[in-house]
Symmetry: C2
């Protein structure tokens, strides 16, 4: 049972040639239905499976899709990638592919990893995450016409960057969050985000600003920038609330930032609480387990769907179709914090 059963065994038992077996499996329409039927029965009976290494030598296709996992999982936000990865594993399996993992510390190292992989395991395609401005990886892969899809839009101005991608509309997410707060009566809504230059962060700020503009409100003085982190979020929230007694709500670019902001919101501090009591609403981004655990309202990304879409765009790319892309809408998960 664990013995190696080759195409020759199937051919012998079915009373046909090896080639006919191969045809029955790979090019069914070229074989007579009854022959095909018999071959398939024998395949089933013997538990035959194509040896991918042998196939790969002839066709050059390995059935492998490579994806990078970061050396360290940074806790709160790492869960976003992990959910995506789980979804992608399933989607890939349905498309007859398997995921191959690799690590790399930066763009250059990752390109070195591409070279290693292409020479060794020969993955059929790559899935790239965390796209950014001046992404060397996409350029490298495009130059060599290697199939890939990115989860994350190309944050580049170059109009000739043409590759399939899937992304979640971050601006729509923060916009929905802000509109939710507006609908609840909030009028002075601040934003805590990352320093400009990170496409994702800028996009999320944009949605907040758009919602304010839509309500005819002035965003001046209501936006702050900080590296990601709960401590950072807490500091910035404290500063914001102390400096502006009219702020009643905070939209954050991540759950980490929101978590810190929520500390401030939930334990009023005299330092900023000089005015009448304010109940501060807080909304995060990513709907991580932490958000669920502490009752933080957050923007949820449809990661399973994103993974499935990545896979289908990839399948299409492997068939030679021109690249297309997809911007998925996130949705707000409302909890106690807002």
């Amino acid at each position: 049972m664990a013995e190696k059963v080759t195409i020759a065994d199937v051919a012998r038992v079915a009373g046909v040639s090896r080639q006919t077996v191969s045809n029955a499996l790979n090019t069914p329409e070229v074989v007579r239905p009854e022959t095909r039927q018999r071959v398939l029965e024998v395949v089933e009976e013997l538990g035959y499976r194509v040896n991918l290494a042998a196939r790969q030598m002839r066709t050059g296709r390995s059935g492998l899709i490579a994806i990078r996992v970061d050396p360290v999982s940074d806790g709160i936000n790492g869960s976003v990638f992990d959910r995506f990865l789980h979804g992608l594993t399933e989607a890939a399996a349905e498309a007859g592919h398997r995921l191959l993992l690799y690590t790399a510390a930066d763009d250059h190292k990752e390109i070195a990893a591409f070279e290693d992989l292409l020479g060794a395991h020969e993955p059929d395609a790559f899935v790239l995450t965390s796209t950014h401005h001046k992404d060397l990886r996409t350029t490298w892969l495009l130059d060599r016409q290697l199939p890939f899809v990115t989860f994350g839009r190309p944050w580049s101005e170059l109009p000739d960057v043409r590759h399939p991608w899937v992304d979640v509309d971050g601006a729509a997410g923060t916009e929905a969050a802000t509109e939710h707060l507006l609908a609840a009566g909030h009028r002075r809504i601040a934003f805590i985000g990352w320093p400009p230059g990170s496409g994702v962060g800028d996009d999320r700020r944009l949605g907040w600003a758009r919602a304010l503009a839509g309500a005819g409100l002035d965003p001046t003085g209501l936006s702050r920038e900080t590296p990601d982190g709960a401590a950072e979020g807490e500091a910035v929230a404290r500063d914001l609330l102390a400096g502006d007694p009219d702020i009643t709500a905070l939209v954050c670019a991540s759950d980490s930032l929101a978590l810190g902001a929520l500390q401030v919101a939930r334990s009023p501090n005299p330092a900023w609480h000089s005015e009448a009591y304010r109940r501060i609403a807080v909304i995060g981004f990513d709907d991580t387990p932490v958000a669920k655990a502490i009752g933080l309202t957050s923007v949820h990304q449809p990661l399973t769907e994103a993974a499935a879409r990545c896979m289908s765009l990839l399948s299409r790319a492997l068939e030679g179709s021109p690249p297309s892309h997809l911007l998925l809408p996130p949705f707000l998960v409302v909890r106690q914090s807002a």
Copy 2:
């Protein structure tokens, strides 16, 4: 550069035979140092990389290690596996292997996946997680003498179950947690765990009981069982505290349970708060991002080390060494909750 460079190219440029190149790479000691040096230079110059598919056809080894990822990441506790996976990816890379992902819904489906994989990609070994009583997978792999390692000890009574494994000493973790509470002066310390039968859960309960016994305390009436979950933990904690006014601390089998328990501990409810004010200490297990976020004291598992150890046991198994195993000590991360 992206052109396919084979061993023949290297041989031609270096002025030796194909076999010498192969030897220089795989059996360096059998080749004259100067020849070897020249070959390696040409390899570098041409950017040659062995084609694993071709090698696999000859040697039967693919350089792949297969590991299952669960279809759905269950949020809080999923992060444990994910951290392990990240660590394993790195450890595998250092040992010259890559991780291949697959999914399966249960033991039987997973065994079917084994068969698929072995016939197709031919992984050199498997890494199994979530071992349990009557684990069909280990039996199946042992029967076929396929190399594998489990992260999780064999929870079986069978003395002949002999395979390499790595596990974290859960009992030592809850014991340390309980001792920490004892040292802080707590005398009536309850345990919230899972229904008996899940090796991991029973083990964690054992550590708590052991610590109490060591302090000469009676555990009677202090242990509760419930499926995992924050809501479940909350309900059980409420019940425990209402029924026993002397309880001042709760040790939980998971961060999910602890999260729920902490809700009760932090917002005193008249229902159980009939006695004098009690500050209830809570300790969780796994040290997930949620624990860090909400200041929950928790038992931390050394997952990166566990992954590295799994890989080294696997390497040894692939070399034919007899199986050995390892029980790693966890440690307590003390935060505000205890």
